[in-house]
Symmetry: C2
Amino acid sequence: MTSKSITIKDIAKALDLSYSTVSRALKDSYRISAPVKKKVQDYAALHNYRPNLMAQSLRSNKSRSIGISLCSIPNNFFAEVISGMESVAYDKDYKIFITQSFESFEREVKNIEHLAWYAVDGLLVSLSTETTDLSHLKKLHESGTPVVFFDRISDQLQTHAVIAANKQGAYDATMHLLQQGFQRIAQITSTPDLSITKERLEGYYEALAANRIAVNKDYIKYCMHGGMIYEEVEQAISELFSLAEPPDAIIAASDRISIHSVSVLNKKGILIPQQVALVGFSNFSAPEIISTALTTVKQPAFEMGKKAMELLIQLIEAKRPVKNFEKIILPTELQVRASSIKNK
Amino acid sequence: MTSKSITIKDIAKALDLSYSTVSRALKDSYRISAPVKKKVQDYAALHNYRPNLMAQSLRSNKSRSIGISLCSIPNNFFAEVISGMESVAYDKDYKIFITQSFESFEREVKNIEHLAWYAVDGLLVSLSTETTDLSHLKKLHESGTPVVFFDRISDQLQTHAVIAANKQGAYDATMHLLQQGFQRIAQITSTPDLSITKERLEGYYEALAANRIAVNKDYIKYCMHGGMIYEEVEQAISELFSLAEPPDAIIAASDRISIHSVSVLNKKGILIPQQVALVGFSNFSAPEIISTALTTVKQPAFEMGKKAMELLIQLIEAKRPVKNFEKIILPTELQVRASSIKNK
DNA sequence: TTGAAAGCGATACCAT
DNA sequence: ATGGTATCGCTTTCAA
């Protein structure tokens, strides 16, 4: 309680000015004389004046804060995304609120309601695996809160979206495996309705088609919790290997699925890449130190966070309603390591 | 703009009551008759009334928000800590603001100033490697903002602290290596002044002493950026292996140092554990899938976040000033894997 | 048990 | 160029 900060009133009293004059002087209004301005600004600086953000927000109905909804913070990919978002927010003087859905639709809805209640100026959203109904977001969006999607997006809402080149990444991964001589390529992925799932399957289909290889539906395994749970990946792999003709390569369509796949294969004693090659979409901090160094489709996570935040702030600060929305696709990078190299 | 939420005034007008009555009815005040209370609460529920948090904060000078200062979000350990904090905050209806110092003292000071400006009700702090001067925190603390330290703590501030059993963890790791028959145990750690560094060295010293082994100063390597940078770990390991008698085991005192150590050793072609055993303090999500499965001292990161948040909220909501502060020490777990098993 | 009114801090409109 | 004042939404003291 000792160093409570001073207010406009304090300054006004000290300098024998009115509140309005002080307020204007602090905002550098052209209607205030230079000497008064200087006097006020000097006094404010000297006494370390900081405008009360709550009061400003109450007045302006803006909070200079941004809500983030994603599935899980300790997921490598999302942690990096958040870091990118934080860095932009810091520079532009916005605060961020991070919420986790844990892949639960119900929790996502609650989180977004909370964020709305906090009067965030905008939302950055990556949908949960369970989400198909977007009415919780639509309501907010229609009432004027800008939303930008990242990673897991939806076209049910007309707005900006930032994603990795998922289709291209999957295409590259599949092509690479084919070129290495692998023939029976499986994909273990997340829930079917998720945008990233579709995109990553599309690239895979295209690469197969380009090589005139028919799609084998048995080789596509969905994980209903996005690979969050070890057991779902274990089951997927078990099923793959009880097929009459098991795959000779696997594409793991997310970070968690990649990690769990390596664990499961190790546990089952299935050798990588001798018995099955593996390529993972992953932002694992050190894929090269995995038992068999993991070939990855690296996503520009930090960049994605930055870009999404920049677009959102642009929307928030736009003078006139934005009508043309962009879908930014950031390039992925195929990093080839031992896990996908065919042994002679 | 369509669905702007209703205010107390709206309710008052609709029900022909005064603002104060509505306010009290909503707070379930005992001074309001049951029928009026019910009428107000029903109306509020029906129209989805949410108190304006900005107005409440302005009035009460409380924001129901908590500031977090730590070095880096995409660090496995801290990401898990944050997740634990978020889960408690969610349950208790607090918001969290996360800031990253990137191990820079200057940035930490700025972040904490920002958080103060946001009028957070309390702070959760893990110090940067560069921080030795705590006046930025002291000022806030003395002016009444509760602070709880986690992981990287300081006794320059009288308050709660939550840490892992770093000393015990290091002791266990060292003992384990000695029992395996390793004799020349090195430790690669963070900056010397950091609490975790001291604690992790202490346990190491004690285990050596218990086995009547003299400390070899050449075996202790400090990383001035906390192991954040690959090159500093590379240099530490290079120096260790240019000694006349290089170590036969290494304890890596943090997540980043562990990961980078494996990378460096792999790159140099030094076999784990044949040429050097390795134990890492790590919350790496899957230590078992590392090239040589990594023996780790696992820290209860999520628990740490939960506990720190609980203590902080307790301080914030305490009716009377708290005088007795706790230092909570959460047990670590030594998970033995191949990287520290002596080959015959 | 209920109501009137002041005030939290900043700002913008209306005066002068 | 500067001042007075109402207002944002809520809480709380004081009256009735």
